[in-house]
Amino acid sequence: MRRVALLALLAHWRRRPGQLATLLIGIALATALWSAVQAINVEARASYDRAATVLGPDRYETLSDPSGAIALETFIALRRGGWLVSPVLQGRFVSGDIPVQIVGLEMLTAPSGAVPITPASEGEINPLEMISSPGLGFAAPETIALLESSDNLPPLQPNEFVPPSQIVMDIGIAERLLDRQGQMSFLMVLPEQPLKQTALSEISPDLVLNSAEQQADLARLTNSFHLNLTAFGMLSFVVGLFIVHGAIGLAFEQRRGTFRTLRALGLPARDLMLILVIELLVLAMLAGAIGIAIGYAIAGALLPDVAATLDGLYGAQVPGILSFSPAWALAALAFAIFGALVAAGQGLWRVQSMPLLASAQSRAWATVSAVSLRRQAMVGAILIVAGIASIWLFDGLLAGFALLAGLLLGSALLLPAALATVLSIGASTSRNAEGQWFWADTRQQLPGLSLALMALLLALAANIGVSTMVGSFRLTFTGWLDQRLASELYVTVTNAAESDRFETWLNGRVDAVLPIISVDSEIEGITGEIYGVVDHETYRENWPILVSRQGVWDDLATGNSALINEQLAYREDLSVGDPVSLGPGWTLPVAGIYSDYGNPTGQVMVSLELLESRYPDRPRLSFGLRTDEPEALAATLRDEFGPDALRIVDQATIKNFSLRVFERTFTVTTALNVLTLSVAAFAMLTALLTLANLRLPQLAPVWALGMTRKRLMQLELLRSLALAALTFIFAVPVGLALAWSLLAVVNVEAFGWRLPMHVFPTQWLVLLLLALAAALIAAALPARRLARTGPASFLKVFAVER
């Protein structure tokens, strides 16, 4: 019996392969979007974890020499004095015309975390080959691809733990390559040291012990970014559920007759349910597998941009290559099944409770009464209010995202009621029969379409919100870059001994020398940076001050006050005039607050003289140079001081770099936006397809009473367009509210800065066209089918028995 029943139910799919495809694509798309986002998150998190275990040399305490180099003899003296240190030799090397960083390590003494060798690569490495000429280099696969044609490097082995543009090799090979025999850039100090050792001052008094490079907690820093992605993932989840719900609703609806017959023939309701659930599980798994493949492809395509974003914003290294993780695939499959079951819940319940002798005639599977429409709208309104209230109820990002969730879900729930109201007004103002029927009929379709329209609203609002945020960010950011990067050249002296000569040499050769010194200090109890700057027009004219008191620069020059960045101001709730603690026993009043996008830490600016008087040993190592001929000056500087003594960056390069980072930052968001929109369009398509078959009894009398099929088709298309346009209109305020929450709440919490909001109506126009196009595409298929419906199909409606 069950077998026969199953076969009878499955026969449906053979007769309607298109519908099977819709269902599969629906589940597959939903799974794909959600799992793509998950894959990216998982991959990024996994690389943080890897980064935490394989830390690289700069994550240890180090010993360095002010001269920039440590001799082999010093290293030996330290080892023999009981110091467990391991040498690192770093340098720039140009292979072909591609610059790479050579990192020479001594693999025997290096802490295991600094060595980028994986157990997997072990078998292929011959240690003798590694230490004797020509040696062996380890580099990221992308670096190797880039360096393919270069012959002045040792043979390279791909290694995913090595950051891009870096080659790790034995120090003995590195010193020859860099022509720095017997030298070391610095020594890593191993975390565990022996019970006793010779005092450092006794071995080499010049050496400076540096604490480990301040490792900002990557997980904390990147949380906001992943929260963003996760939010998008959830959005896709919801949108995907709508699709699956539509597709399954359609499948159930069309087989009502079969269900009834099977029941009448003696199949217990429980068995029917069981068969349906099994069918659903099989389909969900099949579609889920397809979705995983698509999701993997999407994630693979997006990951390089995510990697660039994380690197640019937070300095977090994530390889641009996706690795396949079974856990992720399983989660995605579970999602597909869970989503399918949730989406089918209503249908299954209907089957369960369907009276045996119910009419086989199809009824709209999602008829919603006016009462429930009002109830739904009420819940929506409550959600919005709750979202807004959460700003005061919760702290931090949670509040931001609660606000976003409340806004989005609330507006989605409000949408059907709002649309119904507009359509009623349309119906009551229209005088002719066609118009009246059009509006009234559109309103009648709402229950069946509302899920798809809600999905569309979410997609559109998210789109408007995010593009507004990105646009505002871009506009503000470029303006800020222009202000902040006022000097034409930025020079860092890598050899402190050269600092004085450098400054003297510059005398008269540039328009202005703006030395900058910085120290790490406990600012309001948390480690941050204090910058000392000279009093100069460049700052007075260009510095991106947000708020300040009168005569802020004069004030700063006298050493009686400090400027703080916006992040610090938000974090410590400081405003102009408040005292800020800059370390033990040092407090200055805040004279102004400046914007400092992209910097995760608190920053303070004081006068150079003041900072130097407090830190007399601090050499001047960084300089901003004002000049009309930056390129010529840079070249002269390199000639005069040698290529390694100075690090010279010109303003144009920094700007380009920053903008590039910025653009890539939001590539992912944009891509996800477009994807979500397409999914919403697909949701509309399935909803319209579902409705198309139910529509026949509604359309047949209209046709019989004298309307052509062509006109009916046109009206169907128009209906879809009208609904999309109306949804878009509702989406604009929701999207703007979303943008505001992102800029003024989420950003402040996540990054510590607030951005002014700009609106871009031309973008909305594009989006409107996109939405209309989506609606048109979604409606095209059912409409075309309608136009082709023969009179016989209409006539069946009028026949006694259907």
């Binding site: 004298g706 009179p791 016989a792 026949a799």
Partner: protein, 218 residues
């Protein structure tokens, strides 16, 4: 002549072969004339009605409606004839679910561009629908729906009124009352009436009666 059908043939595809429904049917209907079409279940009564109402096309033969031949007309012209010339009352009434009673009755008249509020008001009054104007089809009983369907068909002042099994869904008493009203209204508008029915009692109230059997009229 209001309706003139000559040698109509119609068959449907059924399984592997053709099911011949009409095998050379001819009929005529003049102004003010009322004609009952009777026949067994499946004899092709409804098919004939649908062909005459320009809802479907015959395989062979010609139909002339109000002096206009239907054969060879495109979709647009046939739709025009449907809304301008014919009033249809379906067996299942087939009201437009999205519209209320008032809009349902006015629908075809408005579509045909000759909505007459006075006439509609009179119709509504006589059909006893005044209280129901703002209701929707799903809120009406079967009898009420039928009266709305009749109102909708007559509101356009059609040349021909075509009615399919009007009593199938009604008890005898209400059927009788509604039919009386229908015949009165038809005679007042001088329209022709073509009614498909299996009730000989009802057929007897019409001026002529023809029986369909074996795909031919007797």
């Amino acid at each position: 002549m209001l309706v003139e059908a000559i040698d109509i043939h119609k068959s449907y595809r059924a399984g592997d072969g053709q099911l011949s429904v009409l095998n050379g049917v001819s009929l005529e209907l003049g102004e003010g004339e009322t004609l009952a079409l009777t026949g067994e279940s499946g004899s092709g009564k409804s098919t004939l009605l649908h062909l005459l109402a320009a809802l479907d096309t015959p395989d062979e033969g010609s139909i002339i409606l109000d002096d206009k031949p239907l054969i060879g007309l495109d979709d647009v012209r046939r739709a025009e004839i449907r809304r301008q010339t014919i009033g249809l009352v379906f067996q299942q009434f087939n009201l437009i679910p999205a519209l209320d009673v008032d809009a349902n009755i006015a629908f075809q008249a408005k579509l045909a561009g000759r909505h007459d509020t006075t006439w509609q008001k009179e119709l509504v009054g006589r059909l006893g629908l005044t209280e129901l104007l703002s209701r929707y089809p799903e809120q009406l009983s079967g009898g009420q729906q039928q009266r709305v369907a009749i109102g909708r068909a007559l509101a356009v002042r059609p040349r021909v009124l075509m009615v399919d099994e009007p009593t199938g869904n009604l008890d005898e008493a209400s059927a009788d009352a509604v039919m009386g009203l229908l015949l009165d209204l038809v005679s007042e508008t001088n329209a022709g009436l073509l009614m498909v029915t299996h009730s000989t009692l009802l057929a007897g109230r019409l001026s002529r009666c023809q029986h369909l059997s074996g795909g031919r009229l007797e």
